[in-house]
Symmetry: C2
Subunit: 458 residues, 2 copies
């Protein structure tokens, strides 16, 4: 069992190990005939003998010795008084889930400020990522910025591209018409380490730079309309963050005109978290996370791409023959099986639900196929509603493990008909020197011991 | 400004107060011409004069006196090095959002264990409720139960109704086929205090016993099939919780047969929170929250309703003529405007987005109408996609406030054609002695001071 395994990541006992029907019948019959009298007498004994405990409601008849614990071992939560309504006003996960954490990959980055924490995909359900477990990617650390002092400025690279530059306070932005939409956000470097090797053991580290939330904010088109943007000439948009990295990214104007791009203050019902750009970030659905500029303080419209440091040096694709590609920011169709996945252990043969996530920066997921023989045969998985555009889609498939070594894979197809490629297909186009934009099919090997391992088929 | 008001609950300045276009042009021109040189010289001065500050990256050229702060007052988050990747692995909201809390209503309950905390609807966006702000209703306090020791038993009220009783561990349940679905959960007593008066100032207290999450778990029908339930005779289901309140509720078998009822372990991507039934609760979409039994330990099938204490004494509707109704558990079509709402302040005239939530226990929301004249005229609001069955739906409408006293209301209609009633219509059927199941139209009065007040139209 790996460090990342947790209650919700475990794969344990088979249905054969269920408590026997006879045992259930016996407990039930005992309870029906004797339990009430038993509880009554046990409780009386506890009250008589347990005056030291004080609170009547907290007496545990079994713990207090009021009966044979082998007959009716009632837990404290059944006999006692529970905890009061959460008084700090904001709840936390169970202490038994403390292992479900976003984590740094040891040695991946040189500092903790220009670093990454990965989302524990192997322990998550459905499509919403809890904001406390949303992956992080900081270029110069994160900040908790005072929203009453934060401003968003909108201007043109020259005065002819935009009639009226404006500066908005957060209150002004939050008063405007808003939209709420579910979208995934994926770092362009997600799965980057897999290009060269399979040293990364779990899907938290192979694919954990993706998360999915309900974002709320103001369509950028509306702000541009208020400023009088000349859409004929202003074909590019620059987003700029307020943190020290001065993150700046070019976004094509057609994405803004489609109505999809918005400046977001809300995430999963509440304000954005500080690590994710509080109080304002750009949401560019389908596009890699670096363009979702955090701590968004300025948006400029221009008539050509801005060719910023983060566009010329980082997030580019090294291609065969010494060439490179720039501005390849739309995340292609991709998927990963999260259960069973690397680091998990199947403790015996029998039924398992294969479950995973699929997404595409180009629209809705149309189909996900799953193979349990290394890609020779494929079966279509169930897609969980709602299937939304540029959003995670949860898929699942029933599977019985025969105890033999098994290669499991998922392959997604989006509404454009694009099919997630194998490593062989992707390398034929991209060669072997890429870092970013790896969306190849992931393979997990279930070994005969039940341990699941990250492997790559040649 | 009420105690509950927070950054995300404020309604401030009008667009007229935006910084002037001339000011923006000046700042932009200054930045273009001088900023780089200015920053360079200011930074040099700070380094020379600010050795005491130690960390080079944290020097703030302006604060350190390296320039005229009136010209370029760069904040620390632009000049310094931010915080490292979150090391405890689970993030928290911004310190500026500390006021966004679930809260108890002072004096409403006698103890903090048999109590309620209300969700801050006035500060929330979209439809997902962050799990840390999900409303709480405890009958005997909450527990953090060890999932490795928790069991779910399924049996029949006699041996002929179910072939094979079973006891499931959490691991066994989590290995089975699962579904993930977005649903609201509303306490049957939500808005109960409004029957008699309008003493409750904010929508947190009038309507905050509703929340909405993506739940994940195993369809109960599947578990019943595994146990061999005789669906012809076993027409009722009893859910039983493991906490001291021994919460027990009857659920009609047809809801289980529809496939909608499931035993949930997941909520918003992670495991259920302890306050909300960790590690297992019953999900009965559309039905009042008390039937979503928390700490679920046992499910029994029977041939008649169980008539438990919580069905005979609580959650019943007192009707005219001394009669009462039982088993009225489906939550009717209902809505509430959350912005502007009681306790908020409109600081001036002009544009506002009216925004709120609508839901129905009988299916999808079909339409929401909004009135800004006390119900004489109605306009249809925008519904935010996705509109899902038995789930919250966010609606919004553009509105310009003329500064005069205004009565604002929302009225929802569901896919069955049922329309949310006025208090007058509801009282004509239910009289005045009800506590539960109040789904009448809520009225907020925007006073000429801009303060929003809870009122009731006769």
């Amino acid at each position: 069992m790996s460090l990342e395994s947790t209650h919700s990541g475990r794969l344990l006992k088979a249905p054969e190990n269920f408590i026997s029907p006879d045992g259930v019948r016996r407990v039930f019959a005992e309870a029906k005939e004797g339990r009430r009298d038993f509880i009554r007498s046990a409780f009386a004994a506890a009250v008589a003998g347990g005056a030291a405990s004080g609170a009547l409601g907290q007496a545990n008849p079994v713990a207090a010795g009021g009966g044979d614990p082998n007959i009716l071992n009632l837990p404290a939560h059944t006999t006692g008084l529970g905890q009061a309504v959460v008084t700090d006003g904001y709840g936390k996960p169970s202490k038994y889930e403390a292992n479900v954490q976003r984590r740094q990959s040891p040695g991946l980055t040189q500092t903790n400020q220009a670093s990454v924490s990965f989302s524990p995909l192997q322990s998550l359900f459905g499509i919403v990522t809890p904001s406390g477990l949303h992956f992080e990617r900081h270029h110069q650390g994160w900040w908790d910025i005072d929203p009453s002092k934060h401003r968003l400025m909108i201007n043109g690279s020259d005065d002819t591209l935009l009639k009226t530059p404006k500066v908005f306070t957060m209150d002004e932005l939050m008063r405007l018409p808003s939209v709420s939409r579910f979208h995934f956000i994926e770092c362009g470097a997600n799965t980057g380490m897999e290009w060269g090797n399979v040293a990364v053991p779990t899907c938290q580290y192979t694919h954990g730079m993706i998360s999915c939330s309900e974002f709320t904010g103001v369509p950028l088109k509306l702000l541009f309309d208020m400023c009088g943007v000349d859409y004929r000439r202003a074909r590019f948009v620059l987003g700029e963050g307020a943190d020290g990295s001065s993150m700046t990214r070019t976004v094509p104007m057609e994405l803004v005109e489609s109505g999809e791009v918005f400046v977001a203050y809300g995430q999963n019902g509440e304000m954005l978290r500080p690590e994710n750009g509080y109080p304002l970030r750009l949401v560019v659905p389908g596009v890699q996370g670096v363009s979702w500029v955090k701590y968004l303080r300025r948006i400029e419209v221009g008539d050509k791409p801005y060719s910023t440091k983060d566009e010329d040096i980082h997030y580019i694709d090294l291609m065969p023959g010494g060439l490179h590609r720039q501005y390849t920011s739309t995340q292609e169709c991709k998927s990963v099986i999260t259960t069973p996945s690397g680091g998990q252990v199947l403790l015996d043969k029998g039924y398992y639900q294969i479950s995973g996530l699929a997404w595409s920066g180009k629209g809705r997921i149309k189909r996900v196929d799953v193979s349990v023989d290394g890609g020779r045969n494929w079966k279509s998985a169930r897609l969980q509603d709602p299937v939304m555009s540029k959003c995670l889609t949860r898929f699942s498939l029933d599977w019985a493990w025969d105890g033999k070594p098994t290669l499991i894979q998922s392959r997604a197809m989006d509404e454009t008909g694009y099919v997630q490629p194998t490593y062989k297909q992707l390398r034929a186009v991209r060669d072997t020197r890429s870092i970013y934009h790896n969306h190849a099919i992931q393979t997990w090997l279930v070994q005969d011991s039940g341990e699941v391992k990250n492997v790559q088929l040649s």
